[in-house]
């Protein structure tokens, strides 16, 4: 991301924080005697500094015309990479919202398999075995050694 784009993003974020997020989501009592003691004081300072960083980044780009030359790894096809990311995000969201029904063990098994398949685009016996054994081993440790109440779900009740 170029300095200019990041700078503009910082400025937009600062404006959003200053004019919407802080007034809406930070409650301050009306009887605050000193402004430095107000719950909004610190978030406002941070918002202002983000805005200043943004202005500096834009100005730096204008003065020096520097561009990012860093090459991060790229997929063979950006479309394919984006689809894989969307699938990964969807898998994580479905996992989060279904864990209470499926339980952490079965949910983890499914998530492992989905992520492994997204990465390798193949399915092998090795993945299936790990997908079964790893969540069960972790369940055993956390539930029986660390005494964590691991969600069991509605389908299977593990000992």
């Amino acid at each position: 991301m170029s300095n200019r784009a990041l700078g503009i993003l910082c400025c937009v974020l600062a404006i959003f924080l200053w004019f919407y997020a802080i007034p809406t989501w930070v409650s301050a009592p009306s009887n605050v005697s000193k402004v430095v003691l107000s719950p909004t004081f610190w978030p406002l300072i941070i918002a202002a500094l983000i805005g200043l960083s943004g202005i500096y980044l834009v100005a730096m780009e204008a003065v020096q015309a520097t561009h990012d030359t860093e090459t991060l790894e790229q997929p063979e096809s950006a479309m394919a990479g984006s689809i894989r990311l969307i699938l990964g995000a969807v898998a994580m969201v479905i996992f989060l919202f279904s864990v209470e029904t499926t339980g952490l063990v079965i949910g983890s098994m499914a998530l492992f398999l989905v992520i492994a398949i997204i990465i390798t685009q193949t399915i092998s016996l090795r993945f299936v075995l790990i997908a079964i054994c790893l969540p069960i081993a972790l369940y055993g440790f956390f539930a029986h050694v660390a005494s964590v109440a691991v969600p069991q779900g509605e389908w299977i009740q593990l000992p």
Binding site: L37, P39, L57, Q64, L134, V148
Partner: protein
């Protein structure tokens, strides 16, 4: 003194105490190596087992878990870029690049040597200077804390790569996320959206794991490595004495930073590790290699966080004040056994005090032995192909994150921070400044506002003592040095964001 030491040895020199200490270190190393299972959690889980033990055996067991846990956190930090404990966050910066280059054995070896050296120095500081350090720590009020943390925030320059502005932006995001939760002074909501889960703020470990581990997985999903199905190369090289000697200065410096910060209640090991790392980078002839797999970076980070371990017992034993959450649990163990830590304990239970000192020295030796054994086993994780390792890490992180508070909300926070970390990575915004600011932000704000409450809004309180003056001067000098460096970099075209990640 000699009589007291001999009395201490006689209390510790039995099979039960030695076994408890060694067992504690082993439990701690294993727990520390599991992301999400922090040293705090391991100590808390071990506490009930001490009820039936004699006081000294029980306390030695907890101290062993504590020491082992702090060290154990470096193992996943180096091998899978997932710090086992918050204290190991700084170890990721150079430890993981070393593992990627097939040098996990050297990284883990140096982490062990640095940890044991720092642990020993910390224990000796506790034994020799407990009283003096405790009285010095007592001089720290909110204004002194504020200036200390302000100085610590200059670490951000050391972990921002070549683009300081992007590092500062990252740190500001960290500060912003740290404001989530109930306001300290008025108890009002800040960015909680009236969700009770957010009222306590974002869980630190969920943020930590999300920021470091999940982006690795997302990067793999975005651009699967052609070699992801194959094992990484694993060199059999072990850290040499020459390398240890080269890093010795940074280890000693980091140990003293750890001792100093550990003796002040409430700071914790993570800031000590980052400060030690930053100072090592500032002073090293190999500063250009930091962040790319420099063994001195691993040594400095581990020395910083392990230097805290013995020193947090200074306020506990000398004043009866816990230095952090773990020592707060340990103080509970003292009380369960009818002991009241503090100055009077040096008179009424001097044999127990010296037995603890002897046990602490022994724990450094056990840490070396058990740590060597553990890392020889764990380092083969590097051989697991990434296509298998990364989904496994994801599942491990989910369990670890869930276990912190037994809530799926933390898992959600971890995922969200993971996506934020991934986007930051793609935009060449470094993640470590975010984390440092997230750790130090609440301390920074709380101490500032407490100071303002004390002075009724008068800023003059921030300059009230020689300690505050010292940290103001150190901060200014550091900012001048950073500005000079930024100007130098600006004169080198193409360097500005080259190693921002």
């Amino acid at each position: 003194m000699i009589d007291n030491i001999l009395a201490g040895i006689s209390v510790v020199a039995n099979f039960e105490s030695i076994l408890a200490l060694a067992g504690g270190v082993l439990i701690g190393v294993i727990a520390g190596a599991i992301p999400g299972m922090s040293a705090t959690m391991a100590v808390a889980l071990t506490l009930p087992f001490t009820f039936s033990l004699s006081p000294i055996t029980g306390i030695l067991l907890l101290l062993g878990v504590y020491k082992g846990g702090i060290f154990g956190g470096c193992i996943p930090a180096i091998l899978i870029k997932t710090p086992g404990t918050p204290a190991s966050s700084a170890t990721v910066l150079d430890g993981h690049p070393m593992a990627e280059q097939g040098e996990s054995g050297r990284a883990l070896g140096m982490a062990l040597y640095a940890s044991c050296t720092a642990d020993l120095i910390s224990n000796l500081a506790l034994i020799l200077f407990a009283g003096w350090l405790a009285s010095f720590a007592l001089k720290f009020g909110p204004p002194e804390f504020f200036t200390l943390i302000l100085f610590s925030l200059t670490i951000i320059a050391g972990v921002s790569g070549a683009s300081l502005v992007r590092g500062i932006f990252s740190a500001l995001l960290g500060l912003l996320f740290a404001t989530v939760g109930l306001d300290l002074v008025y108890g009002t909501n800040r960015f909680t959206m009236n969700d009770p889960n957010l009222m306590g703020g974002l869980n630190f470990i969920a943020v930590l794991i999300g920021l470091f581990a999940i982006p690795e997985i997302l990067n793999m999903i975005w651009s699967p490595d052609k070699n992801s199905g194959q094992a990484r190369k694993l060199s059999s090289a072990w850290v040499s004495f020459a390398e240890y000697k080269r890093c010795f200065k940074s280890i000693i410096r980091g140990s003293f930073i750890g001792v100093f910060l550990g003796s002040i209640p409430g700071i914790g090991a993570a800031p000590a590790a980052f400060l030690s790392y930053s100072e090592a980078k500032r002073n090293s002839p190999n500063k250009e290699n930091f962040g790319k797999g420099e063994i001195e970076g691993v040594a400095a980070s581990e020395a910083g966080n392990n230097g805290v371990a013995g020193a947090t017992l200074i306020p506990l034993l000398a004043l009866g004040v816990p230095g952090d959450v773990i020592t707060a649990i340990i103080i509970g163990a003292f009380m369960i056994h009818g002991l009241q830590p503090g100055p009077m304990m040096f008179l009424s239970n001097v044999d127990i005090i010296y037995a603890l000192f002897v046990g602490l020295i022994l724990s450094s030796i056990f840490l070396f032995g058990i740590g060597s054994f553990a890392i020889r086993g764990f380092r083969f994780i590097s051989k697991i192909p990434k296509a298998v390792l990364l989904p496994s890490v994801l599942i491990l992180c989910i369990y670890g994150c869930y276990a912190i508070n037994n809530t799926l909300f933390d898992v959600g926070v971890m995922f969200a921070m993971g996506w934020l970390g991934f986007l930051m990575y793609r935009a060449s915004i470094p993640a470590p400044p975010f984390l440092i600011a997230f750790i130090l932000g609440p301390l920074f704000e709380d101490n500032f506002r407490q100071a303002m409450l004390m002075s009724n809004g008068d800023m003059g309180i921030l300059f009230r003592s020689p300690i505050t003056w010292f940290f103001w001067a150190a901060t200014l000098l550091t900012i001048v040095a950073i500005s000079k460096k930024v100007r130098e970099l600006e004169n080198k075209p193409g360097q500005l964001t080259k190693d921002a990640k």
